[in-house]
Symmetry: C2
Subunit: 254 residues, 2 copies
């Protein structure tokens, strides 16, 4: 039986989502828990996409196959019993055998948090500490140039010249946390993001915020399609995958 | 020169504030940092009061004497350089030689956080996870019986029959976090609190929240002055010392 699970994790103590030999990862930790439930028969977990080392998730999705007969609710319970306290299954449901979490992911929401106030040790793993004042209004202006369908090659770090870098950002916004006005929240909702794209975009917005470049230059840099020259990747700890939206179920008509 | 410092800490990895032989504590860690700045001459740090193992602080106060000539701003900077990332000096100022942080503390504000929603791994060290629905209105009713000047013996865990347990709670309230309505915030502002008093009071309020007792019974239990019979100490991780208010400076008239 194939299951779709929604889960959250604190990425601080992991070497990213994806399994890598010799490293402690979210995927490996989750597969170990699922394999136990599956009476020792190896389970592969396929997420909607990977997240990098130190990045968090509050609404990640994945699918997995379990041979043992188990209700979704009991699968959730059993997984949480076997998982460490920094990974949590929020929900589980049965899906069709041909369901594929990566291909069926339609939209992702990422959030990046910046603390402009005094350093707070309780938030140290969840925000990027920025000790200089930011011109938030200019950042708000600049972020709108990133909305829409663009070739985001300028925000890719790796040299992947042949890769298709066209993505659509449906919504991008800069807000303040309603409890703590000194915590800036930068949100991106889009059909998918390239590796380090969000952190490079935030890095460029920070340059706008400190007055090093003007908002319009964000558009120029985007249009230049010159990889990695302008960005400045911000730390992983501020980033969180908040939500993944799936394509509606495909109705098969015979 | 005597300095007053304001500081914050994540209590998760410490065995409480106060120095204890063989344990890793906040005080010891801070004294080691201050002693380095004082050219190796031992510095004692005297806080407004201790916090227990796992309890956090966002506005703790302490005083310390430094023999080396240093401005308050440089003391803050030097301390933060020598402190681990889970302790942070917010500010420092010079005070009179007879200033005493514990005796001059007039008021303390504690906050206890309860998560009534789905478990969130990013909040695991900062909230108490409560998986059953709570009747918040009844808790609001009940908490007001704790306001005022009372003998809080009923909320003390240790057997200290001769100890004076009279304290004044100026304000006590139950609110919801403005960003996350599923996170309950219980605030107590008072002239001082007995050991485990806040956590025992919150434990009793939770009994009201789940409908095990009626709000009025909180008053009866308080009035009974029977130690520890009714409480149920909630975990340390939800507790945070938010603020300490000092008595106004005493003007000495010759």
């Amino acid at each position: 039986m194939r299951y779709l699970i929604k889960f959250s994790y604190d990425g601080t103590n992991y070497h990213g989502y994806q399994t890598q030999k010799g490293y402690h990862t979210i995927q490996q930790t989750m597969e170990e828990a699922a394999t136990k439930i599956n009476n020792g028969k190896k389970v592969i977990i396929t997420a909607s996409g990977r997240t990098d080392r130190g990045v968090h998730a509050l609404g990640q999705l994945a699918h997995l196959d379990i041979d043992v007969k188990i209700t979704p609710y009991k699968l959730k319970r059993a997984m949480n019993t076997n998982l460490p306290e920094d990974i949590h299954i929020i929900s589980a449901e049965e899906v069709e055998d041909n369901f594929h979490c990566r291909y069926q992911a339609k939209e992702k929401e990422y959030e990046y948090r910046i603390n402009m106030g005094e350093y707070n040790p309780l938030r140290r793993n969840y925000v990027y500490q920025h000790n200089y004042p930011l011109q938030v209004d200019k950042m708000e202006q600049a972020i709108h140039y990133l909305e829409g369908k663009h070739d985001f090659r300028a925000f890719v770090t790796d040299n992947k010249e042949k890769e298709n870098c066209v993505r659509t950002i449906k919504k991008a916004m800069v807000t303040k946390d309603s409890t703590n006005q000194e915590e800036l929240v930068i949100t991106f909702i889009g059909d998918g993001f390239l590796r380090y794209q969000v952190r490079n975009m935030v890095g460029l917005l920070l340059k706008v915020g400190i007055g090093k470049i003007e908002p319009l230059q964000v558009k120029e840099i985007l249009d230049s399609k010159v990889r990695g020259k302008h960005g400045c990747r911000v730390p992983a700890c501020g980033l969180c995958l908040k939500n993944v939206v799936l394509k509606p179920k495909i109705e098969i008509i015979d």
